[in-house]
């Protein structure tokens, strides 16, 4: 592989990063080639010592996505970060995806529980309308109490989701800095 091929492959692995960032990264590697050439190495030698441009690109993209998720933790950004980190290696399919799915399950069920409790008075009314005559005041009061509990759960879930996300992004960051990293496989 020569310099041009290396840079092309790297560039195509960097999709999703900003133009500016891509240019900056490519410049680093161009500088590296220039320094190597000055020492009398060939482009091919330098490229093979650098390792796989695809793997390097993946790693740069992963750390970029994690950084973005850390600064603005929207659902989309977090998903992209998870996806990018999983892409770092097969190993990560298990140690990233599994905890992520489990956490999502927990968060989702918490929200569902909160929402359904809050909606319970509505359900009592709906059922009273549908089956006229089955309305019991006790049901309404119970459901209103449940609604209150539901509100607390929702507020709790709001903070829980935030801290779970933050914790998970920290884990992604740690993971991305440790797993693989284009080091030579012995």
């Amino acid at each position: 592989m020569n310099k041009k091929q290396f840079l092309q492959q790297l560039d195509s692995a960097l999709q999703g990063l900003s133009q500016e960032e891509r240019r900056d990264i490519l410049q680093d590697y161009e500088e590296y080639f220039a320094s190597g050439l000055e020492e009398g190495k060939s482009e091919e030698e330098i490229a093979s010592a650098l390792g796989s441009p695809r793997q390097i690109g993946k790693e740069l993209a992963a750390s970029h996505q994690v950084e973005r998720a850390r600064t603005t933790a929207t659902a989309g950004n977090v998903m992209r970060a998870v996806w990018a980190v999983i892409g770092l290696g097969f190993f990560n399919l298990i140690i990233v995806l599994a905890p992520f799915v489990a956490l999502m399950g927990f968060v989702l069920s918490g929200w569902l529980m909160g929402v359904s409790l809050v909606a319970s008075p509505l359900l009592v009314l709906v059922s009273a309308v549908i089956n006229l005559g089955t309305f019991v005041w006790f049901d309404l009061f119970t459901s209103m109490a449940l609604c209150g509990i539901g509100l607390f759960i929702l507020i709790g879930m709001f903070f829980a989701t935030k801290s779970v996300m933050r914790g998970f992004i920290r884990y992604l960051k740690f993971n991305a800095s440790f797993v693989k990293g284009g080091l030579r496989h012995d």
Binding site: I25, Q27, D28, Y29, E30, E31, Y32, A34, S35, G36, L37, E38, A49, L50, G51, S52, P53, Q55, I56, E59, L60, S63, E67, S177, F178, V179, K180, G181, G182, L183, R184, H185, D186
Partner: protein, 107 residues
Amino acid sequence: MNVQFKKGVLELCVLVLLEKQDRYGYELVQKISDQIEISEGSVYPLLRRLTKEEYFTTYLQESTEGPSRKYYTLTDKGREYLHKLIEEWNEFTRGVNQLIKEGGSSE
């Protein structure tokens, strides 16, 4: 050696090399790969990450031979982090060496 293990240590290597003087990327990579077998391309992602975490600052300087080079300077925050890493490293190797010694002597 184990891949994960080396990657953690790479960070320490880069920081140590920058403690006494500013260096540019190629120089850093060559210094490290003289001692440890690494895939040279993996150092730049690390440099970018550590720069984002404000352990380094960078500046461009013209070189006599070719295009200008990006030099890395250790910040105070980076220095602090380096000292923490060195301490951890020493503690870790002391422990492992002790185990190797004990393991070897009991046979």
